[in-house]
C-alpha cells in the first residue's frame, strides 16, 4: 500500500547497511587476525555469560516481540511467534 519509491528507497538503505556490516565485519576479521586468541586462553570466553546468543528467556523474548514494534537482530528470526 506504500508507494514503490518508499519501498525501493528502503531497500537501497538496507543494502547500504549490509555493505557497512560487511565492511566492518571484514575489518574486524582482518584485525582479529593480528591477535589470535589461543585455545588455552579462552577460559573466560567459555563462561556461560559470554554466549554470543541472546540471553533472554522464552517469556522475556515473547514479551519484547509484543511490546516493541521492532524485531530481529537477535541472531535468529522468524520463529513464528504468531503474536496477534
Amino acid at each position: 500500500m506504500l508507494d514503490d519509491d518508499t519501498t525501493s528507497s528502503l531497500f537501497v538503505r538496507a543494502g547500504r547497511a549490509l555493505l557497512v556490516v560487511l565492511v566492518l565485519g571484514g575489518g574486524l576479521l582482518a584485525s582479529t587476525g593480528c591477535a589470535p586468541v589461543a585455545p588455552y586462553e579462552r577460559g573466560k570466553l567459555a563462561h556461560p555469560t559470554m554466549t554470543a546468543a541472546d540471553m533472554s528467556g522464552f517469556g522475556e523474548s515473547h514479551l519484547r516481540a509484543i511490546t516493541e514494534g521492532a524485531v530481529g537482530g537477535s541472531g535468529g528470526t522468524g520463529s513464528g511467534c504468531g503474536c496477534n
Binding site: T6, T7, P39, Y40, G43, L63, G73, T77
Partner: protein, 732 residues
C-alpha cells in the same frame, strides 16, 4: 565373600575416579578405565593396608589390558608400576615386584614410580629393575622446572659406560674423552638424548666449555629447552671466565632464542585448602611458584594436586599440551575422592567368565559422551492496562560435544487474560486465551561448518503459525570468527475465534534472512554483529480491532490520552475495522558486545530497526552479571526502546460522509506498538547454582517496563511487571 565385599566397597571410589578422570582422549580404548583403577587402588586399598584386595583389583585391570590394543604402553607401564609397588611395599615380594617393574620399564622406558607411593624398599627394587631393565634407559621425558639443570636429559645413565680407556690426545682424562666421543657420535646419529647424556658424563669428568655447549645444543634438540637454557647460561659463564668470547656470544644468542620459545605454565591454587601438594610430571612445585609463570618443556604436562578442604582429602589432575611460546593456565579445582557410586563395574568384572564379557563390562560402564540440559521456566506478566499473561515453558537439550551434534526442544504455553482499554472500547468482555508453542531443533557439525535445522509452531484458537528454518555457521581463523547465515520461512493462518478457517482466514507468509558473525576480539571479549531482513506478505490486520474515526472538524481537536468516554462521545458511530498494508519489509542491524572481567560480565546490545511501514526504532540493552560467589550470580538489567510511529499512524483518523457512504482512510490502525513510543525497562536477576556438583541452577529475574505512548488515545503510559523463574539442570 570378604574379597567380594571389599571390592564392592571399592567400587564407589573406582566409579568416582572414572567420573573424575580427565576428559582428554586416551590412546587406547581401556586406558581411561585402567588408569582410574590403578589410581583408585593405590589411593584406597593400598593406602589402607589392604594389599591383597589391591593386588586382586590390579589383576582385574591387568585383564583389561590383556589385548595388546586395549591399553597403551604408557598405561600398561603404569599398571605394572602399581603392581610392583603393591608387591614390594605391601606384599613384601621383592622378586615379583622386580618382575613387574621390569615389565613396566619395557613398556615405557620413561615411566617413574608414583611419587606418593614411594618407600625405601620400593625404590630399592625399582633401582634393581632399572639396572636390569630396558637398555634404552634414557627416555625422552623432560626435567621439571624446579630441578637443577645438571639432572636434565644429561642426568640419565649412559648406555655405554667408561671402562678405563686411555685419554685421547688433548684430553686430560680418559673418561672425558671417551664420553665426548660417544656424544659426538650420538649427535651425528641425531640421538639427541644420548648425545646430552654422554656429553654430560664427559663434562662431569672434564669441564670443557665446548662440551657443555654440545650438551646444551643436544638438549635443545631433544626438546629439553629448560635444561638447554640453563646449560647455555652455564656455558656463557664458563666461556666468559675463560675469555672465550666467540663461544659466549654464540651461547648467548642461542639461549635468548630458546628462552623466547619456552612454554610457560601458570598454576592457580584454590582457596581454603591446606596441605596442598602440586606436581608437574612428578616434579614437585613449591608454593611460591604457584600463580607465577613456570618455564616448562614443550609437550604434555600433567598437573597433579592433592590437598585438604575442611579436613577432607581432595585431589585434582589435568593434562595440558604446550607448544612453542605458549602459556597455559591451570586452575586447580580439588574434588573429593571417591564421591560417585557405581558398584556395577567391579562386580561385572569379577563375574566375567570370558575376556569378551570382561571387555563388555568396561564398554557398558563407559559413559555416553552426552550432555543433557533440562529446564522449566515459569514467567508471568501483568500491566496497568489489565493484561495478564502466565507462560510455563519446559525445555531440553542434548549435546554430544565430541560428535559435534545436538538437538533440543521446548514447549511453551501462554495463558493470556485481557480487559484492556481497547477491549473495553469495543464493548467486548474480558477474554482468556491459551497459546501453545512447541519447537524442535538440531544441529550437526561437518568439520568447521555447523548446520542447524529448526521448526516451531504457535497454536491459538484463532491463529496458527508454523515455521521451518536453517542456520549455517562456519568457524574461521581458529574459531575466532564465526559467520552464520539463517533462513526461516513461516506460514501463518489468522482467523476469528469460533469461526472455521474455511469460513474466514488470512494467510501470512514470512521470509527471514539473518546474516550474523561473532568475533573473538581478545581473550576477554566477543562481538556479535547481525543484519536481518524479514519480508512479510499477507493481511495481518486484526479482525477484532475497531478504529474510532472522527469528522473532519473534530479530528484536530482530539488530544493524546483522550478518555474512552470522550472518544465515544465524539467519534463516528460506525465501527471501522483495522486495515494494515499487505506487505512489510523489516530490517534490523544489531551489535552485541560481551566482555568478561575477573568475576563479572558486561553485555551491551544495540539494535537499529527500520521497516517499509515507516517505523524506525532503536533498542539498547545492558546487563552486568556479577559473580558474588561461585554459586551466586546477580545482574541488573536496563533496556531503552524508542520508536517512531508507522507512516499511516494517526491519533484521530478522519472519516467523511459522502453521498456514497463513509469515506475512511485506506490504512488505519489502533495498535499502540505501531505508534510512537518510548520504553524503559529496569530489572534484576539472579542465578543460584546448587546440588552436589553445582549442576542445578535456579534463575529468578524481574523487570519493570515503563512505556510512554506519545500519540495515542485512551492511555499515555503503561507499567508492566514481568517475572520469570527458571530451574535448569545439566547432566553429563
Amino acid at each position: 565373600m570378604i574379597r567380594r565385599l571389599t571390592q564392592a566397597l571399592l567400587a564407589p571410589l573406582l566409579a568416582a575416579a572414572i567420573a573424575l578422570a580427565p576428559a582428554a582422549a586416551s590412546a587406547a580404548p581401556n586406558d581411561e578405565e585402567v588408569e582410574v583403577l590403578v589410581q583408585t587402588v593405590l589411593e584406597a586399598s593400598y593406602k589402607e593396608g589392604k594389599y591383597k584386595e589391591a593386588l586382586d583389583t590390579l589383576n582385574l585391570a591387568k585383564q583389561a589390558c590383556a589385548k595388546k590394543s586395549a591399553c597403551s604402553s604408557k598405561v600398561r607401564a603404569k599398571l605394572y608400576v602399581a603392581l610392583g609397588t603393591v608387591l614390594a611395599g605391601g606384599m613384601k615380594k621383592p622378586s615379583d615386584a622386580k618382575a613387574a617393574f621390569v615389565t613396566a620399564i619395557k613398556e615405557d622406558p620413561s615411566i617413574t614410580l608414583f611419587p606418593d607411593f614411594k618407600s625405601p624398599e620400593i625404590e630399592k627394587v625399582w633401582g634393581e629393575a632399572k639396572g636390569g631393565g630396558s637398555s634404552s634407559g634414557g627416555g625422552q621425558d623432560t626435567k621439571e622446572p624446579s630441578a637443577p639443570a645438571s639432572s636434565g636429559g644429561g642426568g640419565k645413565k649412559p648406555k655405554v659406560t667408561y671402562d678405563g680407556q686411555a685419554p685421547k690426545r688433548g684430553w686430560r682424562t680418559g673418561e672425558g674423552s671417551f664420553y665426548y666421543e660417544l656424544a659426538t657420535k650420538a649427535e651425528k646419529e641425531r640421538e639427541w638424548a644420548d648425545c646430552a647424556t654422554y656429553g654430560r658424563a664427559s663434562y662431569e669428568a672434564e669441564d670443557r666449555t665446548s662440551t657443555l655447549f654440545l650438551v646444551a645444543a643436544c638438549e635443545a634438540r631433544a626438546g629439553l629447552w629448560v635444561e638447554a637454557v640453563a646449560d647455555y647460561e652455564a656455558t656463557i659463564e664458563a666461556a666468559q671466565r675463560k675469555n672465550i668470547r666467540g663461544t659466549a656470544a654464540q651461547a648467548q644468542a642461542r639461549a635468548d632464542e630458546l628462552r623466547a620459545k619456552i612454554p610457560k605454565l601458570v598454576i592457580q591454587k584454590p582457596a581454603n585448602v591446606t596441605d596442598l601438594k602440586v606436581r608437574v610430571n612428578s616434579a614437585e612445585i613449591s608454593a611460591d611458584q604457584l600463580g607465577s609463570e613456570i618455564l616448562v618443556n614443550p609437550g604434555e604436562r600433567t598437573v597433579v594436586a592433592t590437598g585438604k578442604v575442611n579436613g577432607a582429602e581432595q585431589s585434582f589432575e589435568q593434562t595440558v599440551n604446550l607448544g612453542e611460546g605458549e602459556t597455559a593456565t591451570v586452575e586447580i579445582k580439588l574434588v573429593p575422592k571417591g564421591k560417585a557410586i557405581d558398584r556395577a563395574l567391579v562386580k561385572c568384572m569379577q563375574d566375567a567368565q570370558t575376556q569378551d564379557q570382561f571387555d563388555d563390562c568396561i564398554a557398558k560402564s563407559r559413559k555416553l559422551p552426552l550432555n543433557f540440559k533440562f529446564g522449566l521456566e515459569f514467567s508471568a506478566y501483568h500491566d496497568s492496562d489489565k493484561v495478564d499473561v502466565v507462560s510455563p515453558t519446559i525445555f531440553f537439550n542434548v549435546e554430544n560435544p565430541t560428535g559435534g551434534w545436538g538437538f533440543g526442544g521446548s514447549f511453551l504455553v501462554d495463558v493470556v487474560t485481557a480487559a484492556s482499554t481497547d477491549i473495553v472500547a469495543t464493548a467486548s468482555p474480558r477474554w482468556t486465551e491459551q497459546r501453545y508453542v512447541p519447537a524442535l531443533g538440531g544441529h550437526k557439525k561437518f568439520g568447521d561448518v555447523d548446520v542447524n535445522l529448526h521448526t516451531a509452531m504457535s497454536i491459538e484458537p484463532d491463529y496458527l503459525a508454523t515455521s521451518v528454518g536453517t542456520t549455517v555457521a562456519i568457524d574461521l581463523k581458529q574459531k575466532t570468527v564465526t559467520p552464520s547465515f539463517s533462513y526461516d520461512f513461516s506460514y501463518d493462518i489468522a482467523g476469528r475465534s469460533g469461526t472455521s478457517y474455511e469460513v474466514f482466514s488470512r494467510r501470512i507468509q514470512r521470509h527471514a534472512l539473518d546474516f550474523a558473525s561473532s568475533f573473538v576480539l581478545d581473550k576477554n571479549s566477543i562481538l556479535t554483529t547481525n543484519f536481518s531482513v524479514v519480508v512479510e506478505s499477507g493481511d495481518s490486520s486484526k479482525p477484532y480491532r475497531y478504529i474510532p474515526t472522527f469528522g473532519q472538524d473534530i479530528a484536530p481537536r482530539v488530544l493524546p490520552g483522550q478518555s474512552l468516554a470522550t472518544v465515544n462521545f465524539y467519534r463516528n458511530p460506525e465501527r471501522i475495522l483495522e486495515q494494515l498494508p499487505l506487505s512489510r519489509q523489516r530490517f534490523a542491524l544489531a551489535g552485541r558486545y560481551a566482555r568478561r572481567f575477573s568475576s563479572s560480565t558486561l553485555r551491551a546490545e544495540e539494535r537499529l530497526y527500520a521497516d517499509s511501514w515507516g517505523l524506525k526504532a532503536s533498542t539498547t540493552d545492558l546487563r552486568y552479571l556479577y559473580d558474588v560467589s561461585k554459586n551466586v550470580r546477580v545482574w541488573p538489567h536496563l533496556r531503552f526502546h524508542a520508536q517512531t510511529g508507522t507512516s499511516f499512524w494517526q491519533l484521530a483518523y478522519v472519516a467523511e460522509r459522502t453521498p456514497t457512504g463513509l469515506q475512511v482512510p485506506a490504512l488505519r490502525t489502533g495498535d499502540r506498538e505501531l505508534g510512537p513510543l518510548l520504553g524503559v525497562t529496569a530489572g534484576l536477576g539472579t542465578r543460584l547454582a546448587f546440588g552436589e556438583a553445582k549442576n542445578w541452577g535456579l534463575i529468578a529475574s524481574g523487570d519493570v517496563i515503563y512505556t510512554r505512548f506519545l500519540n495515542t488515545l485512551f492511555i499515555l503510559q503503561r507499567f508492566g511487571y514481568f517475572g520469570a523463574l527458571t530451574l535448569e539442570v545439566d547432566v553429563e
